[in-house]
Each structure stands twice: as C-alpha cells, then as structure tokens.
C-alpha cells in the first residue's frame, strides 16, 4: 500500500538515485573514467528534480489558509511541475551544445567496457523509476481510485498516526491544540483573542494542524489524484524518462563502439582520418608517404569507421528532440494555470450569457474565472439586481449555474441600482476611488461597453472589459457619462503608458 503514496515513491527514487550517484563518483575516481563522472552528474540533476517535486508535494499538502497565503499552498505542485519542465529544457539545451561541439570535434570513447557497465546500471535504475512513476506519465488515474474508496469507507481514528504523516509525535499535542482553539472559538466573547492565539503560534500551529490537514488531504488525494499532483509527477516522470533515454544512448553507443571500432594501437603508426588534427595529419601523412615509399607491403592501421564517432551526437540530437516534444505540453499546462487563464473546458462567453439571461439579473460585470490548482476553480462576479429580494431569489440559481460549469468556489457581489441614477446598467456600484483606476485588476472601463453590447455580437462585460483596438476605445470613452469621465481619462492614460 505504501507505494501508492506519492511522497513515498519520490523518497524511494531519491534514495536510489542518490546512492547510485555516490557509487558512480567513487568508481569513476577508481577507474579515472571521465564518462562515468559525467553520467554521475546526470544522476545528480535527477536528484535535484526529485527534490523539487518532493518539496512541492510537501508544500501542497497544506491546503489550509495561512497568514502568508490565504489559499493555502495548493499551487506549489504546479510550480514544481513548471520548475522541473524548465530545468529539463535547460538540460536539453546543454546537451544540444555538447552535441554540436562533438560534431565539430569528435572524440572516441575511452574504455568502452566501463561505459557499458555504467550505462546498464543507470538504465536499470531509470527503468525502475519509470515503473514507479508510470501511471502519472501516461496521465491515467491508475489504481488509486479503487484504493481510495476503501480508504474513506473505513473509519480511521485520528489518534493513530500514519507512517507518512510528518509530525507524528505531535499528534496528542495537536488534538489538544485543536480542541482548545475550537473551544476558544465557541465560548470566548471576543473573537479576536482566538486569532491572536493562532497568530502567536503561527508556525507551530500551522505545522501541527497541517499534519492534520495533511491527513485529510491525503485522503482526498488518494481518492482522486488531483490533476495538479499529476502535473508534478509528470515532471518527475519526464526527467527520469530523459535520463533513461540518455542511458540507452550511452549503452548503444558504447556497444557499437566496442564491437565495430578499430582503435589505434599504442605502438606503431596509425592514421586516424576522423580526428581533424592538423599537426597529426602532417606528421602521419609524411610518415605514411615515407613508408609508402619504402615498402608497400606494410599495412597501416587506419582507425575504425568514422561514422561511429558521429553516432553519439546524432543520437543525442534525437534524444533532445524527443525530450522537448514531451516536455512542451507540461510546460504549457503549468504556465497556463499560473497565468490565471480560464480553464479550457469553460467558455466564459456562454457563462456570461447564461448569467445575464437570468430573471432579475440586470448586468454582470467583473466576471473572473481562474484555476487555483487541479480541479479547484474559482470564480468571482458582480451581479446587478434591482433590489435585495430579487437577489435572494436568483442567488441560488447563480450558484447552480457556476456549479454546473465546475466552478465551486465563487464570490458573488450583488449590486443594487441606486435610486435615481441614470447611469445605466453597466456601472459598477462599488468601484474604488477614481485615482485607483490604475491599480485595479482590470480597470474601470465601465459603461463604455454597456452601449456597445447591443451592437456587437461578442459579449462585452462592462466594468472590466476594455477594447483592445485604440480608435474604438477613444470613441467609446467619449460617450461615457460625466460621472465616470474622470476614470475614463485616467484609463486612457493608462492605456498609453502601458505601451511605453
């Protein structure tokens, strides 16, 4: 069972790889083989990737909000995936540079037998790693589903510390801590003191409660492998995959070399046509000429088929292409989440139209949908209604609409049209002060688009949407009513400045 756990797998692979790294360094010193040393550092980069993933997993289990991060650390895994993907790209880049160098200056492999041995050992370890992280790489759910169901069905008393829980010894203290804070919560007349308590012991409470939280979220995550966790593990999988490819190339190359290469013997004349070395060329040429003059029967050893020397860089290039091709989707996905993009399965326009067509909803603005991590999608919107009672009626429907799209964490701000305002429907009732226009997330380009809505087919969301093209913006801004002209101006300036 323990191998189902992500962290256990990562730790296991980390230990193996680090051990192998140490072994390789030692052996390379003993045999003074440079190839082994290079390969060992390759393993070290693997170790680093695993460490990054491990740190991300550790962080991401703290889903509880803290003083420093109101969302908890769920996003850490997406960041971990991004770091690994970028790291892998950098690695590919250095391999590319080396391959180019080898093209111009090929050199033979020394001690091919040692290299074969090292390569095979590395390959075994990498294949093991691939098996460990396999079902993440494919993107499937694997067996964690079925396992998870049995888990949550069971009643596991919390006093039983699970092996993967870090502060296992703090369990008892944790219970006391939690009950005490709950008690304070309930009975203290001043809610502030509880916060102060939490504040003072911020770190420790965090850590301890996180142990608990980790407990919970472990359940949750064993039930459904969150897609952010999948991203993280995919990053690790790709690293191990790249390493495995590298080992394969090393082994193939060394084998072919061992089999087919005709090395220059230590003694005796040797003509090496592959290595482009001017001095040697002249020397050997003159020697060969001299020899040829003397006796034609003496055969000169010619160093083996030259194409073998170019095999290494070619294989490296192929490997780089494969790696980049498989890393790019991971890079894209994690970057899109971090950029606060709308998740691809949600269509903002249709959502907007659904909301607008509800009875009692006059306008919708500041509609924002973004993905925190995995399946946690967050939405915010300002809904304009004629009066509070209408809002109460529609509030449930609004939440349902969001729920249907898969957005479960929403904050809806109702706005009621102030009596006697001719401002029209689009105006945001609670904007910040006018000089804040530059610092708002989306600018206060209100009202400009309210009138456009009827004309244009595409949906415009007032209060947050500013048209991209310059001339249009200018025109619509001038149409805006006097009360918002000030904001419109600053907005215009803002537009210009942003292009500076």
């Amino acid at each position: 069972r323990w191998w189902q756990n992500r962290r256990a797998r990562l730790l296991c692979m980390l230990a193996l790889t680090f051990l192998f790294f140490v072994v390789e360094v030692v052996v390379s010193r003993v045999t003074s083989s440079l190839a082994m040393l290079s390969d060992s550092f390759h393993m070290l980069s693997d170790v680093m990737a695993l460490v990054v993933a491990l740190v991300a997993v550790r962080f991401a289990q703290r889903t509880r909000a803290t003083k420093k991060n109101t969302f908890g650390w769920v996003r850490a895994e997406v960041m971990g995936a991004l770091v690994n993907a970028v790291f892998l790209t950098a690695l590919c880049f250095t391999i590319l540079l080396e391959a180019i160098e080898r093209f111009t200056e090929p050199h033979e492999i020394q001690q091919p037998l040692v290299v074969i041995g090292v390569g095979v050992a590395g390959l075994i370890i990498n294949l093991l790693g691939l098996c460990l992280f396999n079902h993440h790489g494919v993107g499937g759910h694997g067996h964690s589903h079925g396992h998870g169901h049995s888990h949550s069905g069971r009643q596991h008393p919390r006093s039983n510390p699970k092996p993967e829980q870090p502060p296992g010894d703090g369990e008892a203290a944790l219970h006391r801590e939690e009950t005490s804070t709950l008690v304070e919560n309930c009975s203290s007349s001043n809610g502030v003191s509880q916060e102060k308590l939490g504040d003072m012991k911020d770190d420790t409470t965090d850590l301890q409660v996180n142990g608990n939280a980790g407990h919970y979220s472990l359940d949750a995550e064993e039930v459904e492998e969150d897609s952010s966790a999948q991203l993280n593990m995919r990053g690790v999988f790709l690293h191990v995959f790249g390493d495995a490819l590298g080992s394969v190339i090393v082994v193939v190359n060394a084998l072919l070399f061992y089999g087919l290469w005709n090395p220059c013997p230590e003694d005796g004349p040797c003509f090496n046509p592959c290595v482009n070395n001017h001095c040697m060329e002249n020397a050997t040429l003159s020697k060969t000429l001299g020899r040829a003059n003397k006796s034609e029967q003496e055969s000169i050893t010619v160093a083996g088929p030259c194409w073998l020397l170019y095999l290494d860089p070619v294989l490296c290039l192929i490997m780089v292409c494969i790696l980049l091709y498989t890393t790019y989707p991971l890079l894209r996905e994690s970057a899109l989440i971090l950029l606060q993009t709308v998740p691809k399965q949600i269509d903002v326009h249709s959502l907007n139209s659904k909301l607008r067509t509800l009875e009692g909803v006059e306008a919708v603005h500041e509609l924002h949908i973004w993905q925190l991590a995995g399946s946690r999608i967050i939405g915010t919107a300002h809904i304009k209604c004629p009066d509070p009672s209408t809002y109460m009626m529609v509030a449930k429907r609004i939440k349902e609409i969001f729920h249907d799209e898969g957005i479960h964490a929403t904050t809806i701000q109702p706005e009621f049209a102030s009596v006697g305002s001719e401002s029209g429907r689009g105006k945001c009732e609670f904007p910040c002060r006018t000089q804040c226009a530059l610092k708002q997330c989306c600018g206060t380009g209100e009202d400009s688009t309210a009138k456009k809505t009827e004309k244009s087919l595409s949906l415009s969301i007032s209060c947050s949407e500013v048209v991209i093209e310059y001339p249009k913006t200018r025109r619509t801004k001038s149409e805006s009513i006097p009360s918002v002209k000030l904001e419109a101006n600053t907005d215009q300036n803002e537009q210009f400045e942003s292009s500076l």
């Binding site: 109101t70 991004l82 008393p157 939690e178 979220s217 509030a395 708002q440 989306c442």
Partner: protein, 413 residues
Amino acid sequence: MGRYSGRSSRLILMCLVSLVLFAVEISVAYVGNSLSLASDAFAVLSHLISMIIGLFGVRFSRIRWHKANTFGFSRADVLGAFGNSVFATALMFSIFVEAIKRFINPQKTEKALLVLIVGIAGLFFNVFNYVIFMDCCYCRAPQGDPETGDSPNDHKSPEEGPEKKKEKKSEALNIRGVLLHVMGDALGSVVVVVAATIFHVLPLGNAPCNWQCYIDPSLSIIMVFIILSSAFPLIKETSIILLQMVPKGVNMQLLTDRLARVPGVSSLHEVHVWELAGGKNIATLHIKCHTPTDYQDAAYKIRKVFHEAGIHSVTIQPEYIDQKTSQLLCSSPCISKACDSQLCCSQREPSLAKTNGYAEKNDSCLSALHKDSGSSKNDIAIPIEYPRAEDSVKNVKNRDVSDGKAQLSSTRL
C-alpha cells in the same frame, strides 16, 4: 506616442547583438577550452531571454480582457521572469558541475589570445548595454527593468504625498539594485579577461597543468555565485506572486481586525488577498450581515479599509444571518457538500475566520450543534455541524465519515 518611443527598437537591437555575442562566446569557449567564457556566454543568454520576455510582455500587457484570460496577460511578465531565472539557475548548475570536473581533471586554456579578445568584447557589451538602456529604463522608479525581466510596474502612479516618498525610496533602491546587477555582469567579464590574460602571459604550451589550470574553474565558480545572487531574489519575488501569496505590503492580521470592526459586519470569512502582477492587488471576502441595508453601508466602509491597505479590486459577498447558521461558517458555499474537495479551501479546517466582537456567539454555537440531516438543496445555507467542546476530535471524524462531510469551520470561497 508610446509605441514609437524607441524602446522596442532598442530592445530588438540589443537582442540581436546579444544573440551574436552569445554565439561567438560559446564557440570560442569550446575552441579555447575556457570555462569562464562559457559561463559568461550563458549569462549573456539569460539576458537575451529576459529581453525577449520583456518585448513580449510589453505587447501582451496591452490586452486587458481576452476570452482565454479574464485578467489579461499582465502576469506573463512575472511568469517569464520566473522561468528565465530557473533556466539561468539550471545553466549555472551545469557550469558548476563542469568546474568541479575540471578541478578533478584540470585542463588548459588554449588560444588564450582569442579568449582574451572575446572577453574584452563581452565587457564592452555590458557597458554598451547599460548606456543604451540607461535613460529609458534604469532611472525610472516604479517602472521595472524590462531588460532584466523584473516584474515591471508599467504605470506611473500619480499618487498622494506619503506615497511619493515611498516611491523615491523605492526608486533609489531600484537604481541601486540595477547598478549592482550591472556591476555583477561586468565582473563576470572581468573574470574572463583575467583568466585569459594569465594564460596568454604565461603560456603553458605542452607542459602539464600547473596552478594556472585551477584559476579557470575557481573563477567560474565565482561567476556562478554572482549570477545566482541576482537570480534567487527574482525567483523569490516572482514566486510570491505566482503562488497567490499575500502581497508584501499587506498585513492580514491588521486588515481582518479592521474589517471586523466595521459596523454592520457580524463576521467575515473566506478572506483572500493576492496580487495579480505589478502592484495590482485583488481581494474577495464573505461577510455576514443582518439586513441588506447593513450590507450596503458596510460595503462602502469595507472598500475604504481595503483602499487604505492598497487593495483596489474587491468583491464582497454578503450572507445573511439566520438562526441556524453559526457565525463563522459560510452560508453559501457551493450547492452540495460533494463539492468540498473542489473548493479553493476545504471547509473542514479552521482558518482566518473572524467575528465582530459585538456578535453573540453563544446562540450560534449551541444552535449549530443541532444536526440538520440531509442536504438542503432549497436553502442557500447548507446544514453544518459544529463539534462540541467536549467532543474529542476523534468523534468528529467518525461523524464525518458516517455522513459524508462535516464542516468544522468555514474556509470556503
């Protein structure tokens, strides 16, 4: 006006020059077997990438709303800076590894004269870089440095008095930071020149390696540390934004205190504050009020509190108190309990919920102890369970398992 300031064209020119310089430096590094030149080449490459990111960032930041991204693309800069720093770190790691290999297995620098010439060219390039970008980018305050891919704050803020002083200070800091950065790069080139000079002046020829061969790797390690020292702060800064952390200038404790004291607000929960990019802070929260007029009054005051804290985009969700719900729990999370794992913050863990001191807590606690069975799809409020004080946590967990999900406290958005 803004479009043709020439900054873009300068950026493009520098990009081309950097690209050429990088190609030259890396090839000479391989030919001359000089590691320090290779590390300088990588530094130039990382600058090149940050300039490209800056170029794209300027283009993207004009888009305010897009159907793929409701916030516009202002975060692209931040993400680009982060990616670039990680890339630079990885490259420096490979240089570090190479240097260690050279300590074990020392190698000579050949063609020292060529390396020297290229090193001097790199030094000139750094100075040239500084000169070109000095007037437009290095001496402007909140405007970040696009050349180095710092998260830029594109807007000049016409703010009030005390903020201007803050800006001057940050301007001074910014300039100092930039100067340090430029000096660091120049130092890298100096390192290359020094190493190459030694080999040129005292050529080794065919002799075995002596102390000279150890200069190159040691100087390379120094270069690695120089570059990392400028990459790490950038990584820290950008990851604060990318991880949705509370921005630096905001004190959550103080903020929630002030918010709870606003009259009309009984309690508040699900307070989230984060930074989009470049000083734009966004907040959302849920408040509990008694009546809609309460809410409307409180809303203005709440925004004022946020405004003073520097947060200008706020979304407030009002929830109305009724007898059944506790003060601290969210009355309107998603429509069913099954969504809990997909909420931004699980409802089971207590967090940052605050109540106004005036509210009566006793009623809500006791009444909340009644278990409302069955999920009510008709109300907005979802029945909650509040553990008794004497219940051990174990007990709650049992109950939790037995009826799906019990909520200990509210942290739902």
